[in-house]
């Protein structure tokens, strides 16, 4: 990595963010800002926030989840219920130099962290608050997802009842929208001197996304509900197929070229042509391929059913078809796409040991930064308070003794 790459890879160098957070969205936002070069200080209550012991855990009780979402941050632990701790952390937010004055939080209803309270002391404050809903009420990824529509169209057509997505997609999107809003606000502040008061409700992330993708618009315009499609792709030809040995494959034909390759592979060219004539269907049109998906799938199925996963893989590799074999997480981590991927690097993580950790997915000049370990809780309490608030060893000893702060355990 040359000098240009190193610095273009850290575009938020000089920015300092105080994060008071838990769970996924806000921690991901902070970690993402850190990966872009910001100094992100996660402030937790003594003993840790509600996510500090969240599963999965190692045998000694370290949270794999927490360490995964807090890589590269500094950790300050303080008594956030008492006046002294609140005063200290308020100071840390507002008295943190020209690149500071940025608060990222998902803790609602704490007066001492209000925009007005903090902006009275630092007018160029950037404050981003993640809410459950716009009215300030609580919602989490799992409840937002239930209310948005996707679980009732997920899974096999014959299934009744909801199927939740396992990926906390709304939290993740919310975290990235938050990181983006803060990065934009930094540019605005550097140009104008003005801060920003930003509100980001998790539910609105889901609603905006469902709107942007057309799910809501379609429901506004048409009385016909979109059906449960199993693993088919709405408006395109895509389906999963099972091999003789139980391996499963996702097959996608977005274009006529892909579709042609699929009929060649499965030796169904003549049958597909005959079907096109009999059904008066133009299979060069993606809508026709979608409309007639069931009969097409029935036609392609035997080719997959009569071959092993290895045979199917070898054959698909010779084609332009978009495909993947469904894999377990254990298969994923043993694959060179992880083990030989520069996105991953060995990371010595206290409490976990050395494991292959991802850095940020975007690379600059083809290079990835090394992933950084998550802190121990309170690991940087004294370092940060010395450096940012110029507290002395005596000050720190008194705060420690009064249980206003805690240092790394």
């Amino acid at each position: 990595m040359n000098e240009t790459a190193r610095s273009a890879a850290q575009p938020l160098a000089g920015i300092r963010v105080v994060e008071i957070s838990s769970f996924v969205a806000a921690p991901l936002a902070g970690m993402t800002l850190s990966q872009l070069g910001a100094d992100v200080i996660r402030v937790d209550p003594l003993g840790g926030a509600a996510d500090y012991r969240r599963w999965p855990l190692t045998d000694d009780g370290t949270s794999i989840y927490w360490t995964g979402l807090n890589k590269g941050k500094r950790s300050v632990a303080a008594d956030l219920r008492g006046d002294a701790g609140q005063q200290l952390i308020s100071n840390l937010i507002t008295d943190s130099g020209p690149g500071g004055g940025i608060l990222l939080t998902n803790t609602v209803g704490r007066e001492w962290l209000d925009y007005d309270t903090l902006a009275a002391r630092r007018p160029d404050l950037i404050r981003l608050e993640i809410l459950g809903r716009a009215d300030g009420s609580t919602a989490v990824d799992y409840t937002v997802n239930a209310a948005i529509g996707f679980p009732l169209v997920t899974g096999p057509a014959e299934h009744a009842g909801p199927i939740n997505q396992v990926l906390p997609a709304w939290d993740l999107l919310c975290g990235l929208y938050a990181a983006l809003a803060i990065t934009g606000a930094v540019r605005h502040r550097e140009a104008t001197g003005e801060g920003s008061r930003i509100t980001l409700p998790l539910e609105d992330v889901a609603l905006a996304t469902a709107g942007n993708l057309g799910f809501l618009t379609e429901a506004m315009l048409s009385p016909t509900p979109r059906p449960r499609l199993g693993n088919a792709i709405y408006g395109q030809y895509g389906q999963h197929f099972s091999a003789a040995d139980g391996a499963t494959f996702m097959i996608v034909a977005l274009t006529s070229r892909h579709f042609h390759a699929l009929t060649e592979l499965t030796g169904t060219r003549a049958a597909v042509d005959a079907l096109a004539t009999a059904l008066d269907a133009d299979f060069t049109d993606e809508g026709a391929r979608y409309h007639h998906r069931d009969v097409l799938t029935g036609l392609f199925t035997p080719w997959f059913r009569d071959r092993t996963g290895v045979e199917i893989t070898a054959a698909l590799e010779q084609t332009s078809i978009l495909w993947e074999r469904y894999r377990t997480f254990h298969e994923v981590v043993a694959d060179p796409r992880v083990t030989a991927n520069p996105l991953f690097a060995p990371l010595p993580q206290p409490g976990i040991g050395t494991y292959l950790a991802p850095s940020a997915p975007a690379s600059v000049d083809g290079a990835h930064a090394s992933p950084q370990a998550a802190p121990r809780l309170g690991e940087h309490t004294e370092e940060v308070l010395r450096e940012q608030l110029h507290l002395s060893s005596t000050d720190l000893a008194q705060l420690r003794e009064a249980a206003v702060i805690a240092t790394g355990d």
Copy 2:
């Protein structure tokens, strides 16, 4: 909205992005940058890119999907296969003023759009390329998802085979990572004068995310695969319940307080206490609530089964429990959370009519910008070429006649 809010809400004002894209990730990135105030010019081949007619469609063939993901952009249509069109669009990318020189694309392998080709003409170029995989091979959301592990742990425990998520979560996350990387690169360029060459593989977005959330780390550390959990939440107590009338509810108890409220609601306090004693389980611990989830669910089920959705809703509203009723997209769009939500505003969209469209989910000073219509294909071809490349009416007429450009149809 006061003056400060208006400008803090448009932090990317003065930035100009040329987007050559299709489908979800790159278009969402461009739209998101536009929502932050950037001038985003989507350049398409004559007749539109592969996503221009993607379902859902209106009766007259307008894509609800395309219009949803391209709101607020300007559209230029040009012959991207011929030298004249390529020269024109190259000029548009490089000769676009101090805020320009930014290319967002997911079209791989076009030499005229290479970083080196363009940066030779504009050294401070910011170029972000979205790839399928890091090696440049093709992958789409559906194939990436198959290969990452989630479909094999989604859905009912007794289900065999993969269940795809309906939400194209990897595309969406990729789009937001792209918007963020470009915004960071803008800050870097404004500070140093240096451009950025950024690569973002869709597959690496999925791998990094699965790593950050601990799914991959857990698989590296433990030989035991995480089971299919149905609608339960790993490591927490959460489950869906069905009402007497078929309504379904997602119920989440993240904390002891939530769990206590759930036992009170369902009148199972004594039974839960007896279970805790008999099983030697401490239900103040989230791990114990997760471990014993099946018996707890069995205990809570009759309360839901004996009541209607309306009765359950009324009762849940009096508690601190995290909950939602599962809703269809049609129920969502009829709800005040959409119809009375300032996130949505009536948008007159050519080809669709006026519908409630979302703006960006983050609000500044509590205000949302109005959503902007998607362009007609080529609507701004002449406007943009006049303004950016100072072409005359004669120039434009010649280009039109030679089928190098097209204007709005």
